[in-house]
Every structure is written in C-alpha cells, then in structure tokens.
Amino acid sequence: MGPPVSHRWAARLHLPTLAVAVALLAVWTLLSWRYGAYVLPSPLEVVRGLGEVVRTGEVWRHTGASLARILVGFGGAVVVAVLLGLAAFVSPVGRGIVHDLVAVLNATSVFVWIVISIIWFGLSNWAPIFTTFMITLPVVGANIVEGVENVDRRLLEMGDVYRLDGRQKFAAIVVPSTLPYLLAGMKVGFGLALKVSVVAEIFGVTSGIGYIMNYSREILATQMVFVWALVMILVMTLADRLVFEVIARRLARWR
C-alpha cells in the first residue's frame, strides 16, 4: 500500500528542504573560511572526523556508553511511570498524588538534578543515570496518567456487564487504550534522555558522548565537537525510525 516507491523518495527528500540544506552548507563553508577551523570547522572536516571515529571504533564506545546509561536511567523511569499509572488507575487518591508529583518534578531544572546527583553519587556512572531518571520520569508519567484517565468509561461498564474481573478489564481494556500514550511519552522521553544524559556526562565520567564532546573542546578539536553532535542527531533519528515508528505501526494495525 501507499504511494509508489519513486514518489515516496521524492516526498522524503523534499526538494525545497534539500535546497535550504545546500544553501546552509554553502554558508557554513564560507563562514569556516572566514573564521578558521577552531571556531567553525568546515563541513568536509566534520565528515572526515566522522569517518575517523567510525574507523577507530570510538563512535561505538562512546555512543554505547551513553546509550547504556540512558537504558538504565530512562528504562527505570518507564518502569516507575508504569507503576505510577497503575496507582492512578486503582485509586483516585493515588491519581491525585501522582498528578502533584509529576507537576513538581516537571518544574525542576535539569541542573538541580545534575548537582544533586554529583553530591550523592560522586563522579560515577550513577550521576548521569540518576539525572536522566529524574528528568524523564515526569514526562513518561504524565503521559501514562493521561492515558489511564482517558480510558473509555463506557468500555469499562461493558466489562462490568459481562463481569470481567479487575485483571481481565486491565488486560483487555486499560492496557490497550493506554499503550499509545505510553509510546508517545517514551518517544518524547527518549529524546529528552539523550539530551540530558549527555549534559550530565560532562561531569565525572570518562566515556559517553557528553564526555568526549567536552574533552574535544578542551583539546581544541572543534571539528570533533561537531562530529559528536552529528552522532547524537543520527542516534535520535535512527531510534525514531527503527524503534518508535515500528512500534507505533504495530500498535495501530487495527486502525
């Protein structure tokens, strides 16, 4: 189904966007000539740098380290958010508490958690993990709670008529209607996790995209800062395309 392949490619490449990209690259090149490689490395140097880190395998080491921390911190946040959603489902009191908790956490700055996690965990893996956890928890939690609140009461009443017990109603009605909300929350949360954990990696760890970016700056290798920024963009895009879009399509197969 869908449009023919050639059309799809045309749509994806979207010529006006391509034109803008080419123009930006041209301006970038000009500016890098004007200001020199320390301030603004040329696109060519960035591409060369990317080839370098791929060749040496450095790209896997640091991306892997960052992703591992995200997996623990963000994964933990998803697990806890699901438990909060469960609490919001079973009791109105729980729903109120979760609501307020999410509001407070949402209002807390990233930097607060970075500083606190350095105090608590020192210069270790747990600092970025904890920061990621605390920042993504309210995002995923808010989405799940919204999903739980939006479960169609009329379907639950149908469940009562046919005497489904709590577990059956949960599995057949609550989970399927909440999953799209969970997925949306996870999508936003993952993007946030990548951005936040990288900032937290500036302090105290010796691997990860944030660490290597900061290190590149210190040794005046500006082109590597750009290379790692590019890697972050690629990771985000690939996660979107290969994970979230695939899951979303699977979830929506009944639509």
């Binding site: 379907l155 009562d160 008529v161 017990d165 057949a172 009605i173 009944w254």
Partner: protein, 251 residues
C-alpha cells in the same frame, strides 16, 4: 426468566421515574416505549443492575437484582453504541466475555464463531470493528450479548444509529434470534413501528416522572395499524403533558 419490576423509581435532581411496576413471563419480547426523557434507558439500566434504583426493586426469577452485579443470573446488554473493543477482532470481542464464565480458550473461540455466524457475520470473525460497517458492529455486539447465553437480554435502542434499511434487516434478525433462542428480551425504542413489529409485550411509559401508562399484549389480535395509531395518540398526549408540566420561560 421471569422479570418483575416492583415500584421502581429514580430521582436525579428531579424525580425521573416515579414508580414503575410490571411483570413479564419467561420468553417474552418486551418493548419499552415512551416520550423522550421519560427514563427508558435509566429503567433498563436499573433492570440490568448497572444503576441503583432510588425506590423499589427488580426481581429475576424471584431474586433481586443489585447494582453491584453480584446477582446470580446472566444478563446480556446491547447498548446504544456497539462498545466493541477496537483493538480486538470481532471473534476476540465475543470470546472475551466468555472468560469470566470459565470457558476454555478453544471453547470460547468456537462459541464466538457460532454466535457471529448466527447474526450473519460468518466470514468476518477476523475483522477489526473499525473495518466493518456500523450495522455489522451492532450485530457483533448482539452476538456478544447472546454468547453468554443470557437469561435476560437488554437492548437499549440498539438500532438507533442505523439507516432505515439496516434497521429493518436487524429487526427481522433479532426477532428470528429471539424465536430460535427463546430468551427474555427487554428492548428500549422510541419507534412505535419498531415496537409493534417486534415486541410481544409493549410497555408504554408516561411523561416524566414516569409511570406505566399502558401495558399491551401484542399477540396479533389487535390489528397492527390500529395499534400503531393508538400508541401514537398516547405518546402525543404524553409529550404534550410533559411540555405543559415543564417550567415556562423565565419572566
């Protein structure tokens, strides 16, 4: 299943149902009629134990119906909307309600398919509700209600959302299913023609706060056209009464 409604009343902010009493023998096809807003749906929900009554009680074979759904008898409900789970196939939707009855998976599947067949959905078992027409969804909802082999089947304007042609087809189907299964059915409708066409007992409610205005046996002894005329007259009287009783414009 013998159904007895004993002085049932319901107050929200105002009394909606004053006091309704009637009794129905097993295997009857009861149609609840009345002007808009007289509490037909509310009465049906009370009979099904979905809502508590303010006064009175409902007895199924002598056992009171309670709003917590703990009563012994099986009650199937077809709502105004189909209330199918959109993420389950028609087969799984029907099979789901057999789970609480302790039927094994293979049996649930077979029963679901049998009842989908009965309502004319053979071949559509694997379809998701979003992929079939509104009439077919409503049939699937009926199959689901029948699958639990209910002692009492409650239907709340189940064909309200259908066009005239589908409505006619579904009326014939329900009538046929009723004949084949012998269930006691209580059917809410605002269409007098529909009630006369399919009901064996017609309960005409009065304007709000409602009482039973007339209990009519529709056994074919009264000519249908005359019955429809009489009922239309009654309902017009009730509508006028309701409008007369309504508070006038604010001075």
């Amino acid at each position: 299943m013998k159904l007895v409604v004993e002085g049932v009343g319901k107050d929200y902010l105002i009394p909606v149902i004053d006091s309704v009493s009637f009794g129905v023998a097993a295997g009857e096809f009861v149609c609840l009629l009345g002007p808009n807003g007289c509490g037909k749906t509310t009465l049906l929900r009370i009979v099904g134990g979905l809502e508590p009554a303010t006064r009175g009680r409902v007895l199924l074979d002598g056992e009171p119906v309670t709003a917590d759904g703990r009563h012994r008898d099986r009650v199937g409900v077809v709502f105004q909307e189909d209330r199918l789970l959109p993420w389950m196939t028609l087969r799984d939707n029907v099979a789901l309600v057999l789970k609480p009855l302790g039927v094994a998976a293979a049996g649930r599947r077979a029963t679901a398919e049998r009842y989908l067949q009965l309502v004319g959905l053979g071949g559509f078992e694997g379809y998701y509700p979003g992929r079939v027409s509104g009439g077919m969804r409503q049939r699937a909802a009926i199959a689901r209600a029948l699958a639990i082999e209910p002692d009492l089947l409650l239907m709340d304007e189940p064909f309200g959302a259908l066009d005239a042609q589908n409505r006619r087809i579904m009326q014939n189907e329900v009538r046929r299913i009723w004949r084949e299964t012998g269930r006691t059915i209580v059917f809410v409708t605002h269409s007098i023609e529909e009630a006369v066409a399919i009901g064996t007992t017609l309960v005409m409610l009065s304007a709000r706060p409602s009482r039973v205005r007339e209990l009519i046996g529709n056994d074919g002894r009264v000519e249908r056209a005359k019955l429809v005329d009489d009922l239309n007259t009654m309902i017009m009287e009730e509508v006028e009464r309701q409008q007369g009783a309504a508070p006038g414009p604010v001075p």
